[in-house]
């Protein structure tokens, strides 16, 4: 089953640092009685994974309710209950990206703060879509950062897809507009537009994003069809603020979380899931072109909890 390998990959990558949530969950029990400190310990571990105070409290309350009902008497039941709560929290946001064939070109817009891995994610995404049999074109909309265009060009070569770029200092909106134009005439299925990283506190840069969106809507009033926010898994509570602010500015439709292969566990996903109904499309699990997986709530929860 394909699902098994996804779980395996998740588990291998996520727990490479250390297995945090349930490593010694067995020791929480003394002869069928859950030790009183167990919940506090789990709470601590959730906080350590950046799950944030709100989501952590919600999860712990869930467990507490199960304990009060006498449903948790052994390790297996604790794991099951924890998993159930995690899946309940995450399942509503685990919606894979679906590109309907009748929208052509499908415009995918990628935004995020500086250094979260937007360009790398675009490279990986291009490969993934190409393997699904779609024709892809990249638009080098990051015209601000030094060598951002070259970075995307390298990715375009690597995964062998066309790219439209005008070089540094060009107007981002016009680059992306031109790319869509040329994708239209060439009959390309998907255009992935890169944008410069920007902190959500810089209102003039957020205004620029709005402008790009407005310009794209000249091609298609429904464009961009997907607005993907890229979030770094090592980010703490600020990731939630980022998501909210970007959503207010340009209306997000999806989230990609990167760098999950480090020691960070991306618990911020839980915090975002608790606060926003924003679908999580992909997770980045490494630097290679193949290291991008669709997000699967079940697999993620399972990887956190282990056997």
């Amino acid at each position: 089953m394909a699902n098994d390998s996804a779980i395996g990959r998740f588990r291998a990558r996520l727990n490479k640092g250390d297995s945090w949530l349930t490593r010694d969950i067995g020791s929480f029990f003394k002869a069928d009685v859950l030790s009183p400190d167990a919940l506090e310990e789990l709470e601590t571990r959730l906080l350590l994974a950046d799950a944030g105070v709100e989501a952590t409290q919600w999860l712990v309350e869930r467990l507490q309710a199960d304990i009060n009902l006498g449903r948790i008497k052994n390790e297996k039941q604790l794991r099951a209950s924890l998993k159930k709560a995690l899946v309940e929290l995450l399942a509503p946001i685990a919606k894979p990206l679906q590109i309907p064939p009748f929208i052509k070109p499908y415009i995918l817009f990628v935004a995020g703060v500086n250094g979260v891995g937007k360009t790398t994610t675009i490279g990986k995404l291009a490969l993934r879509l190409k393997r699904e049999g779609k024709s892809v074109m990249l638009a080098a909309g990051d015209t601000f950062r030094a060598a951002a265009v070259q970075q995307l060009e390298t990715w375009a070569q690597r995964v062998d897809v066309p790219i439209l770029a005008q070089g540094e200092g060009a107007d981002s909106a016009s680059v992306i507009y031109d790319a869509v134009q040329s994708a239209k005439s060439r009959g390309v299925d998907v255009v992935i537009a890169d944008t410069a990283g920007r902190l959500h506190t810089q209102s003039h840069l957020m205004e620029e994003l709005r402008k790009i969106k407005r310009v794209l809507q000249k091609h298609d009033p429904y464009a961009p069809h997907e607005v993907l926010l890229v979030v770094d898994a090592t980010t703490g509570g600020n990731a939630l603020t980022q998501a909210i602010q970007f959503h207010e500015a340009i209306g997000l439709t999806g989230l990609a979380i990167t760098k999950l292969d480090g020691t960070a566990k991306g618990g911020i996903l839980l915090a975002i899931a608790r606060r926003m109904a924003l679908p999580v499309r992909f997770v980045g699990l490494g630097e290679a072109a193949e290291d991008l997986e669709p997000f699967d709530a079940e697999a993620y929860a399972e990887a956190l909890i282990g056997e």
């Binding site: 500086n114 360009t119 970075q151 540094e168 810089q202 703490g236 509570g237 990731a239 911020i268 630097e287």
Partner: protein
């Protein structure tokens, strides 16, 4: 979005009054709130624990100053401890080495190493008048070397060429030989971002360090980093003898708890802050600024500076003189005060800077403060000079005339007169040297944190 620490602390502490010292119960209750606040600011949990233990020791039995509530007193302890922990003895960049002094940059992917390399090169060139060479040992990320070349060109320092396929250690050695030959003062070596679990990459940077023996090994960390900051900092600290930290993306709105985590875990000073994308946006680290940010205090200092700039000193002085001479505070003075307030700029911008202002902004959204001020001024404008000087003259008939003149109801004129009476009473105490007394009596009523601290 988050509840301000001040508000939280005053909620748990300020219900208990009239004690001279902080009691153990109080300290414990406050510690719980502090824990939540620090966690929300992304301070790593082990660091939170350690920090709270230190604060507890210091807070227990601390005398509550006359002018402060227990909540404010506790906050003061937290602030001091935080500043001390963050600051320690902040050292400048150490370049005391036979040139070229070597600076090695290390950190996770996307933390801002290359941008910081450029900023640091510019800073050394402009402020220290150093001759700087930069080199990139990032042979992995596409266009990383190209990025440094462009950045170096922008800031006008020499870029030593390297290319994909070379060994990072070989690149560094060649660059060092070149820097020596050029009699460069400083060589900055930019490296690839790496996760700490990647053993091969961690070994590589340790080898780079061994080959270069840099005088400064700077750990570059994103101020938005969460709990992972402690783990990452520890792993880098174990692999490399770090000498300092650069905290980047401080111009965002994260609370910057990572600063405390990294400082505590590595024991190394934070030397610089990256505060913008442009190459000159690098600042020397100020512990107090980050401390206030972590506990969610506003930029009070900035507010005071701004106020001082905008208030008309001459007029304020005149009023003070007048009050001193025990001449009454009349409606003309009241109008003057209102105009001064208007001058200070929009209420919104003032509130933004006040601690807890964000919450207050929400609350007062319905009340349009500026409209109120405008109306008050309009009413006073409709009075005769005689009436302004002797408000007691204003009786029913005059009130009707004034109301008609200002386009308001008589009630609003009454309201204004009452407001004026209250202000006048306060002014009397003010002039009578009862300032301290009055402030103390106000301390309980005003939202905590609003009081000027002395």
């Amino acid at each position: 979005m988050f509840e301000n620490l001040t508000t939280r602390l005053s909620r748990v502490l300020d219900s208990i009054r009239g004690q001279g010292r902080l009691t153990e119960d109080q300290v414990n209750a406050a510690a719980r709130e502090l824990r939540m606040a620090l966690l929300e600011a992304d301070v790593a949990l082990p660091v939170v624990k350690e920090f709270i233990d230190k604060v507890k020791v210091r807070a227990l039995g601390a005398e509550i100053l006359q002018s402060l509530t227990p909540g404010q007193q506790f906050l003061k302890v937290v602030q001091q401890e935080l500043t001390e922990t963050l600051g320690g003895n902040a050292e400048p960049l150490n370049l005391r080495q036979q040139p070229p002094a070597i600076i090695l940059m290390a950190g996770l992917q996307g933390s801002g190493k290359t941008t910081s390399t450029g900023k640091l090169a510019l800073w050394l060139k402009e402020r220290e008048k150093k001759n700087v060479v930069v080199v990139s040992a990032d042979v992995y990320r596409p266009a990383a070397i190209e990025q440094l070349r462009i950045v170096a060109g922008n800031v006008g320092v020499e870029w030593f060429p390297s290319e994909v396929g070379q060994q990072p250690v070989a690149i560094a050695q060649a660059a060092l030989a070149h820097a020596k030959k050029q009699y460069a003062d400083v060589l900055i070596v930019d490296t690839a971002g790496r996760t700490t679990v990647d053993e091969a990459m961690m070994k590589e940077i340790a080898e780079l360090h061994a080959a270069l023996n840099p005088v400064e090994t700077l750990f570059v960390v994103d101020s938005m980093t969460g709990q992972d900051a402690a783990k990452t900092a520890k792993a880098f600290g174990d692999a490399l003898p770090l000498t300092g930290v650069i905290l980047t993306k401080v111009d965002g709105d994260s609370r910057g708890g990572a600063a405390l985590s990294v400082r505590q875990v590595t024991g190394r000073p934070i030397k610089f802050l990256g505060v913008g994308e442009k190459s000159d946006r690098l600042e020397i680290f100020h512990p107090d600024r980050i401390a206030n940010r972590i506990i969610g205090q506003g930029d009070v200092l900035g507010l005071i500076e701004e106020t001082a700039r905008k208030v008309d000193h001459e007029k304020a002085q005149k009023l003070a003189e007048k009050l001193k001479k025990n001449k009454g505070f009349d409606l003309a003075d009241f109008r003057e005060q209102m105009l001064q307030m208007q001058n200070m700029g929009s209420m919104q911008s003032i509130l933004e800077k006040l601690p807890g202002g964000a919450q207050m902004q929400e609350q007062i959204k319905s009340v349009d403060a500026e409209k109120q001020i405008r109306r008050t001024v309009a009413i006073i404008n409709s009075m005769t000079p005689q009436e302004r000087r002797f408000p007691d003259l204003i009786k029913a008939s005059r009130k009707r005339r004034i109301a008609a003149g200002a386009g308001v109801e008589v009630q609003q004129v009454n309201q204004l007169l009452r407001q004026y009476e209250t202000t006048k009473d306060m002014m009397k105490k003010f002039a009578g040297g009862g300032m301290a007394k009055m402030m103390r009596s106000l301390a309980g009523r005003l939202p905590p944190g609003m009081m000027p601290r002395r």
